[in-house]
Symmetry: C2
Subunit: 331 residues, 2 copies
């Protein structure tokens, strides 16, 4: 059925070491859209340099990837057999202290921005801080500006109170693009039942993560265990509010996870979800090592009891609807 | 006739002190599109700040102005009774030494870039330099990149050899957005017959200037004298290759013309086209002091012998065709 009437396949978070090889795996997996992180701790000018690097990819590999801007670009990717790349920021550092940069970055293709990344930001609190005072004065204005220009608030790495306040303050549904429920695996980055209820009851989306630190049994998590969790998540929060956000960091050297965790803010090494003894990237589960493996999830979801329609919704149909609703400016 | 079947009215160069009052005059004059300078000597980040200031104008005055991106936006402006604002750079300083910034600025709406402004730049020579070695190595690559992404090469303030080489190197027609023929008024900024022939024979456009230093008799130039020059220009180079680029610098304090001429490069005051005794902005001719006066040119052109069709072409139809051809990326 899929070959004749393909359904959208969307991965709502990756940060691979981008290359033609990775793009070819996207095509091998029939991946129609990827939300690609373009900045962790970069300032505005450094983020522009990363956009320029992406523009070079688009120029060199036009038969594989193109710049995604609207939900319609997912449908274009399905028609043309290519992959639409949507930009996102894991931290608000690229907007510096300038609210005008929200619209500038939206014009340059940024469609998701996390309000904080593990630490306190100018906007909100990260999930590793001891105290969470909630959304700041600047944060309230930035949420309103993101709502206006069509940039999705992403609270994947944010703390509980800030996340609940962002859901409340945002006039458009928000997303947690890459995390799993805390009731399945008690990682600090996974989300409480309270957050997931508030997120989904307001129309927001949860992207389920395949990053080993977010998985029960880590790198040894089975496809069956993951898909049973997806089924329980769908049952609790609605199948229409979940998708995939794999957090795939393929082909990256361990220096990159050190950058993610430490940026320029720390003089002592922060190991984040890792430990001093296991400081690098964890190994991916065998059933998901690159984009070409993404279709494996379809069969896993069917075995966990999902109908064909619900498999299609979780694998990309829900993100297609959400992208279509979220990326247009509001007059 | 104009009221029932309006023809496009385009001014291909202004640098006013932008305000709601100026936008209201654009509407009073029925001006459908303005090419607005957003940078003289600004670097990339400063240019982004100027774009942010424009975004604020678009947000505050949406019933008067909007961001123009394509030739079709002129037609949209005609339908909606608004003015489309197209961004341009008078100097390549906003791209710094980074060819990737050409595409980034095109994405942010920049549609024209001068390769030099009076002085030598990294790309080309300006019209006030003693020597003109022609287009540089970086300049050749930037012209190719501008051709690819859909940004028009503008040589209004460039020197003769650089201009002729840019016409030759560019695979798409270029523009001189604001200057007059040197044979009419022998100002250094006005263009030689050789340049104007090469420009127009390659499909390029000349925007005729209403800035007093470019006019015979300066501020006392009559509408009749100006329109007779337009007729002679049309006769020599083709009516299809000319339009208006008024160089209107309305409501600007004289500190702005000092910035244009001196940027950050000069420790002694350069007076450009002015003199120490007349260092500021010259007075506009009485028949063109603001956007609401632009329609006066129609009657002047008719009296100088232009048909209704040719008046419509010079007042905006030619720019509409040129914008439509020039702003799309080349695959």
């Amino acid at each position: 059925m899929d070959a004749q009437f393909p359904t959208p396949l969307v991965d709502c978070l990756q940060y691979a070491n981008w290359s033609r090889g990775v793009f070819e795996e996207m095509r091998a997996g029939g991946v129609h859209a990827v939300h690609a992180t373009i900045a962790y701790h970069e300032n505005f000018r450094e983020t522009v340099a990363n956009i320029i690097a992406w523009n070079r990819h688009f120029e060199r590999h036009p038969e594989l990837v193109f710049a995604g801007r609207t939900g319609g670009d997912i449908e274009r990717a399905m028609r043309e057999g290519r992959t639409a790349i949507f930009f996102g920021l894991q931290n608000p550092s690229p907007i510096e202290d300038d609210i005008g940069l929200v619209e500038v970055l939206q014009t340059l293709g940024v469609r998701f921005m996390q309000l904080s990344y593990n630490n306190q930001s100018l906007l909100a609190t990260g999930c590793y801080e001891g105290e969470d005072p909630g959304i700041t004065r600047f944060g309230r204005q930035v949420i309103a500006e993101m709502n206006r220009v069509g940039m999705v608030v992403d609270m994947s790495h944010s703390a509980e109170r800030s996340t609940l306040e962002a859901i409340e303050l945002s006039t458009r549904p928000i997303a947690i693009t890459h995390a799993n429920p805390h009731w399945w695996h008690k990682a600090l980055r996974n989300k409480s039942d309270t957050v997931l209820k508030a997120l989904t009851q307001s129309g927001g989306m949860l992207g389920l993560s395949l990053y080993p630190h977010h998985l029960k049994d880590g790198s040894n998590c089975t496809l069956q265990s993951f898909c049973e969790m997806v089924a329980e998540t769908a049952s609790r929060y609605g199948v229409e509010n979940i998708g995939i956000g794999s957090d795939l960091c393929q082909d990256q050297p361990d220096s990159v996870v050190t950058w993610m965790r430490n940026g320029r803010w720390s003089k002592v090494t922060d190991y984040g979800e890792g430990t001093a003894a296991a400081a690098g990237f964890p190994s991916q589960p065998q059933w998901f090592t690159n984009n070409a493996d993404l279709p494996n999830l379809r069969e896993g979801l069917r075995r966990a009891g999902f109908s064909s329609e619900d498999v299609a919704a979780v694998m990309g149909g829900n993100w297609l609807r959400f992208y279509t609703q979220s990326f247009e400016p509001k007059p």
